[in-house]
Symmetry: C2
Subunit: 191 residues, 2 copies
């Protein structure tokens, strides 16, 4: 590894946001999972979460630009178990979902520990998940279609979080002596 | 057609933004073209533009949620011809592209007539296109990957335009007696 590469890896690790994440509930198209992980990497998500759909999690090909190398993907057996892990860890749970009680996706404060629950392509977020989350958020739709592609919707919400966190100075690099940035950078450099 | 459906169609037509568009330069994956058109519909783009890649424009399946029914897609034989049409029509041309001269994608004023040029999956916006545009815009990347999925990048820019235009009152419905809203609504209702 060149010193430049090592420095780049450490700089990226030092900007990771352990308190920002995504929970994919049975998202099953490989290009969607890949695009979500690529966006996670771009905004500093350290670990993403998923409940695999039927047929398991898709294997990820080159279209994620190798983002799965830089974003850990934690699998959960089911929604109940997965969301309990996130709540236990102190995340506020948002579901990206259309409903009369949903708020505009730009209004929450995403500088707080934030997990965004995204639904499966055809049927959206499950009722089970909706019963467990704190708030529903919706992206305005001004046309005839009822929904956006799931990786597009994820990116719009994550980049709103990026904007807020950037304004709040949260991407100022962390000291690599701190946990969990230390382990992260060390693991990446060793590959 | 039910009266409710007709009213919905007319309401959507009355919010269309003829002075906001996207130009896809040889984007060739069907799911990307489909996702771009779906987002176009959602933010009120009336007509999108494309230079087909090798093999032509992909045929669009159900994954666009039928958005291609609501967003006209104008094909151009090549970049030069296509961008000339847009410039002639008074659009300011932005290329979504990484370069040292690119500005942050949130800084331009997208309430003005705006066309966003998006590049092909592997190689990005062509040098030919870069020579013809007014300004380059870039979405911040804080991770290891070099770029976002093209439909994700398109959506982030279009929704920044949506935010600005919404704040400026530009989605207040137009009178359907005006052109081009009149023809649009009439055409949709007849289908
Ligand atoms: C293709 S959509 C699912 C549509 C499904 N028919 C439904 O009604 O929920 C897949 C996921 O993307 C997210 N999504 C898509 N468009 C959205 C929007 N406008 N606002 C919030 N979330 C959205 C949601 O998490 C949704 O579950
Ligand atoms: C997958 S990228 C192409 C990457 C290509 N290797 C390059 O260097 O341009 C496809 C298109 O998405 C858009 N895009 C992706 N990420 C972007 C970003 N962070 N900022 C601006 N545009 C982006 C650009 O229009 C780009 O041409």
């Amino acid at each position: 590894m060149t010193p430049q590469r090592k420095a780049r890896i450490e700089a990226v690790a030092a900007r990771r946001q352990p308190d920002l994440t995504v929970f994919m509930e049975r998202v099953h198209k490989p290009h969607n999972v890949a695009a979500v992980l690529r966006t996670c990497d771009a905004v500093g998500v350290m670990r993403a979460h998923a409940v695999p759909g039927e047929g398991g999690l898709p294997s990820l090909n080159h279209t994620s630009q190798g983002a799965q190398r830089w974003v850990e993907l934690q699998r959960h057996p089911d929604t109940l178990t997965g969301l309990a892990v996130l709540r236990e860890a102190g995340f506020r749970l948002y579901a990206a979902h259309f409903s009369s009680s949903a708020v505009d996706f730009r209004s929450p404060d995403y500088t707080r520990p934030t997990a965004i629950v995204m639904g499966t392509e055809k049927f959206g977020v499950s009722d089970e998940a909706l019963g467990l989350i704190d708030e529903e958020i919706v992206i305005p739709m001004l046309g005839m279609s009822q929904s956006l592609n799931v990786s597009v919707a994820t990116a719009l919400i994550l980049y709103e979080a990026q904007r807020q966190r950037s304004d709040a100075g949260m991407y100022a690099p962390r000291s690599l002596a701190e946990s969990p940035w230390q382990e992260l950078a060390a693991g990446w450099v060793q590959r």
